[in-house]
Symmetry: C3
Subunit: 341 residues, 3 copies
């Protein structure tokens, strides 16, 4: 059970309710009226817990789990120990995520505006916004219904944030138009000037950065991540893209829908990342490139050429994953050969 100092569970739920919310089907012989009150991993779950089995690695745990109910793929359902009520889904982990959200809905404080926040009279706040202590909201800012702005966050002039937005503690946002259901984590920096300069030994000359940051709906932007605004064109983060902590998104970058960008990735200026691209931690993408739809870039890779759609790459500079693995194996063999006299 999660630490109750930090997490509160909602009411118990019947399998029928969970099935209806997750679209997992109640397995034959399982009890639709059975109720569970929490989620837990296979090896810790008890009769009042819902668990899930999605990774063959944990099969041994599944075979002896004491969970009252379990989400499982159709192929694995028959292996369940007796007495476990089963919910069958092709995506047990996704179904688990949805169920866990029911038990642990986001602990959004009731709507209130702190007297210790500084809110410009021209700012427009939607219904039920929570504005915490020390927040600074400048003139012309518009917040949709149900936004939650955590302490000491700063929202600059004319920024718009859609409904149900959440801005973490000490984050700052300027020059940005943000959609609905967007979450900006603590310390993220959105909308500052891009790194635009005309190089000159007598003193580099700043190029005014005249674009914005456009963030579409359902985006997450991690803690201490930086997203610079465009230099003229905009910087764009597409719908449903998730960005982890300490990522750098430079000016004019366009990121498509549903991308997954892991911590400490850097994407240089004007690069286009198409939909559903995944990038491992610390990968770097040079500027003015195009990474095709669904490409997968391994952690720490250094991409310096366009990446075809759907291709998996790794390496510095990055290359097709297979080629990188062959290269690594070849080097090992060469060294071995050398040592053998």
């Amino acid at each position: 059970m999660a630490d109750q100092n930090f997490f509160q569970t909602a009411r118990p739920l019947s399998l029928k309710e969970i099935s209806s919310a997750t679209k997992a089907e109640i397995f034959k012989g399982s009890d639709a009226s059975y109720t569970v009150s929490d989620v837990a991993p296979l090896d810790k779950a008890g009769p009042k817990d819902l668990s899930f089995f999605d990774n063959v690695k944990y099969k041994e745990q599944f075979l002896v789990t004491k969970a009252g109910a379990c989400l499982v793929s159709p192929a694995m359902a028959a292996l369940a120990p007796k007495g476990v009520n089963l919910l069958v889904s092709k995506s047990p982990y996704k179904a688990y995520a949805l169920a866990a959200q029911m038990f642990y809905p986001e602990a959004r404080p009731a709507g209130s505006v702190s007297a210790r926040a500084s809110i410009h009279p021209s700012a427009k706040l939607g219904k039920g916004c929570v504005i915490e202590d020390g927040v600074v909201i400048a003139e012309g800012v518009q917040l949709g219904d149900g936004c939650w702005i955590e302490p000491n966050a700063v929202i600059s002039r004319n920024v718009k944030i859609g409904a149900q937005g959440r801005v973490g503690a000490n984050a700052s946002i300027s020059h940005a138009l943000i959609g609905d259901h967007v979450r900006i984590y603590p310390g993220a920096r959105i909308g500052q000037d891009g790194f635009g300069l005309a190089i000159d030994p007598a003193g580099h000359v700043k190029v005014p950065q005249l674009g914005r940051v456009i963030i579409e709906d359902h985006v997450e932007i991690g803690a201490n991540t930086t997203v610079d605004r465009g230099s003229g064109p905009d910087t764009v983060i597409g719908q449903g893209t998730w960005i982890d902590n300490l990522v750098q998104i430079a000016h004019n970058v366009k990121i498509g829908k549903g991308c997954i960008i892991v911590a400490q990735v850097g994407i240089a200026g004007s690069t286009v990342i198409e939909d559903y691209v995944a990038m491992g931690g610390q990968a770097g993408i040079a500027g003015h490139l195009r990474v095709g739809k669904g490409a997968q870039i391994a952690a720490q890779s250094g991409v310096i050429q366009d990446v075809p759609a759907g291709e998996a790459q790794m390496g510095y500079p990055s290359m097709p994953l297979r080629q990188f693995l062959r290269q690594a194996a070849l080097l090992k063999r060469l060294i071995k050969k050398e040592k053998a006299p």
Copy 2:
């Protein structure tokens, strides 16, 4: 045109005025009294816009641009379509940067000190400083004329900042002496203890960090970048150096003049970076090294030896760029050969 919610243009300018400020010359046959009111890229510019052509890649756009005026190099001026007024410069991009600054001067708020800032009575503020809500300025701080401190920034005891400084939202500065025209972006951390410890399995022992951070004039330090103070010697950032976001500068590092350090670079303790060095994103420089004047370090390189002045390097560990490229090509050939038989 830039989004007027975020950017305001100043008054229209004649080519004569632009020529005088940028030192670009009015081309023969162009109209010195012609006025433009905004800047725009070649393919979007109209008769009232100033554009620039500096990269052969965009030649097709230049040949048909509808810009009212265009900055261009002497060699390219003859290719301009009829009716475009030309300003000729050896550095069209730099001239554009200067002109764009005229149309879009920094939107510095008029001088005022927020009643919601905490300013120690012993702090000295120059004329026309803007101190926004939630700023904390400790005892003995000195700010030059025209400084702009954005919301919730923190400036600790006895820090000095020169004229026209700007400190971004939620940034923090301690143990630092900062010159004129320095810009610190949101969330940057300047002056905290370096990572100095005497290793001991019974408990590492902190080595007091007794130096400062010295930042010379016209420096830019990016969002969420960290600059630790020296351990005894100072950490120094030389005049006109530009540092991008999420960069780590360790204690005792000395950076010369006019360097360009792209996002997520890390420079380890006591390393010296001479003047006009450029480093690509995510490059790492080990401690106690010297990177010679004008060296260029490619993105993601790992530098573990001194770098001669003027040398271009790449690789992990880094090596002269040509050697790295040969190495990459050789590996490709070896793999091909293996597959062949």
Copy 3:
């Protein structure tokens, strides 16, 4: 001497006092009653300064130092110039660190709680806590004696911090239980949601993150570093571990005791780092791995397999250090051979 605007020395100390605090022994012929009033490097120290000699690289400086007193290893003591009072220690640098702490104790302000901080009435503050301007402390927070919370830091609901904790400016902490003598640097982000999602092209589904961050005693966490809370299990940082700036620690990571993690390292989810591991800057460790006790991971390495205890590794992907060095040497030879016709 350190800049007195930023550092104050405590009273002069006799060699006897320093010996007693550092366990360095007074060398035969040295004067136990001799007093020094500051610390300084070998080449800058004068008769009233304590210096140290711990690295053969600086032998020339040692041979002519004018320091009044010097910490030195037993083997080197005989080389000291006449007139230098010697304190002999097997760990001169550690002894120096302890002595320097005596001259420059942490400049902790006298206990006071700012009227410009927002402190929930249910929060419990130990004796002598310093809470600076703009700090936000939520309901149920518990701070031990002598905690120092710097300006604009945010501590969320029910977080506990032990005695003598220090939280830097603009840092934020949630869902965390923190031991004694822990220092969190400015802008660090502790306890936000881990990057947990069920991938789905129709919209990734958030997996509620139900664990905490547990930080044991004597830990340091650097500026703008991010430590995500666990997804169910906790994220744990073991006693006496030091973490530098801009490091990413993902959910469920367990770090042992006495580890040293240099700037910009990233550790992916659920990885276990055993005691006394050292990691160079920008190294990356993939998820679900185990790095054995005392392993040493070179800067920028990419670890994608378990690392045996005590092993030194380097490379991308990382391999035993010797193998990596052989590989680098082999590649150099192959290129040379190619060039020779």
